[in-house]
Point group: none
Chain length 203, copies 4
Amino acid sequence: MQTEVAHRGRQPSPETEEAILEATREILAKEGVRGLTIEGVAARSGVAKTTIYRRWRSKHDLALAVLIVMVEQQVQSSHDLGDTRAELIAFVNRAIKILNTTLMGRVMQGLVSDFAADPELARAFREKVVTRRVEELTRILDRAIARGNIRRDADIEIANELLFGPVYYRLFLSGKPLNKDFAERAVDAFMAYARAGRGAPRK
Amino acid sequence: MQTEVAHRGRQPSPETEEAILEATREILAKEGVRGLTIEGVAARSGVAKTTIYRRWRSKHDLALAVLIVMVEQQVQSSHDLGDTRAELIAFVNRAIKILNTTLMGRVMQGLVSDFAADPELARAFREKVVTRRVEELTRILDRAIARGNIRRDADIEIANELLFGPVYYRLFLSGKPLNKDFAERAVDAFMAYARAGRGAPRK
Amino acid sequence: MQTEVAHRGRQPSPETEEAILEATREILAKEGVRGLTIEGVAARSGVAKTTIYRRWRSKHDLALAVLIVMVEQQVQSSHDLGDTRAELIAFVNRAIKILNTTLMGRVMQGLVSDFAADPELARAFREKVVTRRVEELTRILDRAIARGNIRRDADIEIANELLFGPVYYRLFLSGKPLNKDFAERAVDAFMAYARAGRGAPRK
Amino acid sequence: MQTEVAHRGRQPSPETEEAILEATREILAKEGVRGLTIEGVAARSGVAKTTIYRRWRSKHDLALAVLIVMVEQQVQSSHDLGDTRAELIAFVNRAIKILNTTLMGRVMQGLVSDFAADPELARAFREKVVTRRVEELTRILDRAIARGNIRRDADIEIANELLFGPVYYRLFLSGKPLNKDFAERAVDAFMAYARAGRGAPRK
DNA sequence: GACTAAGCGAGACGGTACGTCGCGTCTTAAA
DNA sequence: TTTAAGACGCGACGTACCGTCTCGCTTAGTC
């Protein structure tokens, strides 16, 4: 008469999940977010569509999941180099390198439009990806302030925008290559600003 | 059966074109690039799908056309204020205002992913939209150099990235509002950088 | 992820199939094969276009399916009347009556051009429709031979062509009505031929 | 005041007409009635669509025009061979040969469905194509009656159906090849019938 | 020689239907 | 209860042709 509560049935399998993510990665690499379809992932992974929907709300969600895994594997703390400029350049360059050499760049290009349409997706992206970067940046700037390299009241938010705004501008809009000396200039601009102070000499 | 070249056939009707663009604008305003479909534009404009395809290759192309018309109407030269910082702030704020108050912002968000997938689209966007901004910026910086406000060798490309990178970073990624004092900070950072010179004091 | 074969998934629903066939019949009756469109069948039946395509390759295939159902319902064995001529006349008249009173005539007219273009369709038609007639005819001729009414070596193929060639000639080309005494003449011609024998008196 | 009637303007050019027919023939040969489109004919002939529509109501009409030209070129009277059976066999074989070796067969297969849908087309076909055959057949049967080879009251209509019904049955429905001895059998059947008389021996 | 019809090419246009892709939901049977 | 399989309704895609419609030129007459 089914009075029991404890029936648990078949357990979700980790292999299934991995198969899905792997297929997603392969498709993403070959065709970008554009070519990513649930149908395609199901076919390539041998997993049923239903199973995928049980775990992710949309293909964007799925792409983001892949991206997050990627970010987590790339995590790497920047150590104290005793030189703020060098630390920042290394930091920005690390981000650039990931964008250039992994799926990250293509996935970002494909996902960015979805952030505006899907707040939940945007939230997840910021929480998992941006936050880490901001934390890292905070550590670097704290050291910089301690050393007296930059103003006490330098705003982390501005720092982030000045350093990475140009990076994504190139990735999304201008299509210019993201190379090394490019990072230097962004860092120099930020340093000039942060050293001088907000109310610094004008005109 | 004839050998002439000059036969021209029926000319594309401007009314038809306008009807399509207007319908596109309406849908874009209501539902964004996401909700834009050729089918929908055809239905709303009373124009046949085929006619739309005859003029634009894709809905992204169509959205871009709308955006370009918008930009062309907004064109406005910045006059000499005698103050570079003020001119730049006004310049950036003008862009921000357009993003905030017209369809431009939403359309950009929706279109940005397509630039990576469709080089032709990206090329058109840069040519029609970015180029104008760069020209304008050039004029401002020329005046600034003439006045001695910034270094002779300041790079227009960098200027563009430093000023607008943060703007689009907010629009695309962080979702933070694009308000007034935001423009000031980006301009101050650029000015600090451009005044100091590239090989300026380090550490 | 699994290796089994036996998963069966959701089964095609007979209601869906019947809805499609019924809508097809209605359209066929009203507008003929000419007016039959998958789009129309989908609309009238409330079934999705894709579902129709999942079951039939083309509208011709669909029309044939309807025709086959019709034929299967009309199947009716001719019993021994003790008189070959009477049996054949009844047989031909039965076919004529179906062509005259059901959709069969119109559908055949509309389908006939497709047989030449679509061998698969032609094959299906012959298998399902012609074969039955030939079987029936075989039984009648066997009885005729047993009675000594016709030659032992009368060819079933020729019989079929002599009896039904004129019928379809009228249906397809001359447009003359298919009435009763018409069948008699075709049967008489065949009987004269089959009784006389192939090498019979000439000139 | 336009009282005149006789303004004539530019005359339709025969070259244009021929170019259209030639293109039609080529397409018909390659792709059959199925692949025949006004658009295609216009493209291949270099003639404007409008010009084609000015002369023919539909692609079927156009195909029929081609077929009629073909028939007119093939016209050939059968001479008195002194032997009715031989004359009929030659007559049927001539028709078969045309169907087998020219476009006629394919065009007939493609057009036959349109006869039912387009009475005007059917009328034109009968008038231009069938009529000639019936006239020819009449001459042969007149000679046969004169010779006493067949009954006085043999019906020309029946003759036509008995002789050509089987031919078109093969062409349209059974797909069996139209070869030589096939004609003999149809003729023999007709002869047996026509010699014996309608009210001939039964049972 | 100017005027006036038509013929003609080119090609835009509104349509209808095509056949396909992918979505997200559902049903079924097996694990 | 999860899973693979796959049917299903749905919305949109981009394409093929349809038949009609300007448009501007060419070709013949007629006045």
